[in-house]
């Protein structure tokens, strides 16, 4: 099953589970991990971890890529960004940012 265009429900549902949030935290810490690597961090059967990863993939929060024989899991922050941009930015004036401010900041420090 593929995620629908604006499926916020699937994202919230995926995030509503501590194991799945833990898996996302692991990928945030170090991206591009295999199932075996992720499984070693959890007290859970391989099948259980696969099930959680499938929910994350269906919500769009995890994207997998093949690298030779391995399947690598990447954290995709875009669905959360879309919720942020649509629901949070709506209520405050958007701060238009520029790389130039970063440059100023870096040169000051």
């Amino acid at each position: 099953m593929l995620p629908r265009v604006n499926d916020d429900d699937a994202v919230f549902k995926a995030l509503a589970d501590p194991t799945r949030r833990f898996l996302l935290d692991l990928l945030f810490e170090r991206d591009g991990r295999t199932l075996t690597e992720l499984e070693s961090e959890l007290e859970m059967t391989r099948f259980g971890v696969m099930k959680h990863l499938r929910v994350l993939e269906e919500s769009g929060l995890v994207v997998t890529q093949r690298s030779g024989r391995e399947k690598l899991h990447y954290l995709n922050p875009v669905p959360i960004r879309l919720i942020h941009d649509r629901w949070i930015d709506k209520f405050r004036e958007r701060h238009v940012s520029a790389l130039t401010e970063l440059k100023t900041k870096l040169e000051e420090s």
Partner: protein, 171 residues
């Protein structure tokens, strides 16, 4: 686990638009100036062709007002490695606005557009960032609170909004 897997970032967004519209929004300056960092892209869409991004006048003015110095005429450079419109684009990428990033090696961006059912496409962006930790931090959006924009996730969110609604939030 390879260093390459660890330093690669992958982004995917689903957009209700044709593959051609998405391709144009990535490769044409009249589109790229309307979302994200607003840079004017200049693609020579063949293997070995040049890739350059120039700042808009508004971006230049803002930059000069903020710190006085002049922006380089080209703020991002690279080379096209593969162009298969409207499905796949691979090019190298180096940010020249900041000396720390300009000193890092060229990184590699891959755009893949897949048409799904319902006139919906998936756009997958893979950024291979080996040896470029400063740029990796920028495109991950880590420096957004300092006014450096939200990186690829922010850019893709705006791109989707622009293609689906005809405008972005800032407009």
């Amino acid at each position: 686990m390879t260093a390459k897997a660890e330093t690669t970032q992958v982004y995917r967004v689903y957009i209700k638009a044709s593959p051609e519209a998405i391709w144009d929004a990535i490769t044409k300056p009249e589109w790229t100036e309307r979302y994200g960092y607003t840079g004017l892209v200049d693609f020579d869409l063949r293997p070995g062709g040049a890739y350059k991004v120039r700042p808009t006048e508004a971006f230049k003015k803002e930059s000069e007002a903020n710190f006085g110095g002049e922006l380089p005429e080209v703020i991002i450079d690279g080379e096209v490695l593969e162009a298969d419109p409207p499905r796949k684009l691979v090019h190298t990428f180096r940010m020249l606005m900041d000396p720390g990033m300009a000193a890092e090696p060229h990184t590699r961006l891959t755009y893949e557009i897949k048409e799904l059912d319902d006139k919906v496409c998936s756009l997958t962006l893979t950024h291979e960032l080996e040896g470029a930790p400063n740029l990796a931090s920028l495109v991950r959006g880590d420096q957004e609170e300092y006014g450096a924009g939200g990186g690829h996730a922010w850019v893709l969110s705006e791109l989707k909004t622009l293609l689906e609604t005809g405008k972005v939030f800032a407009e």
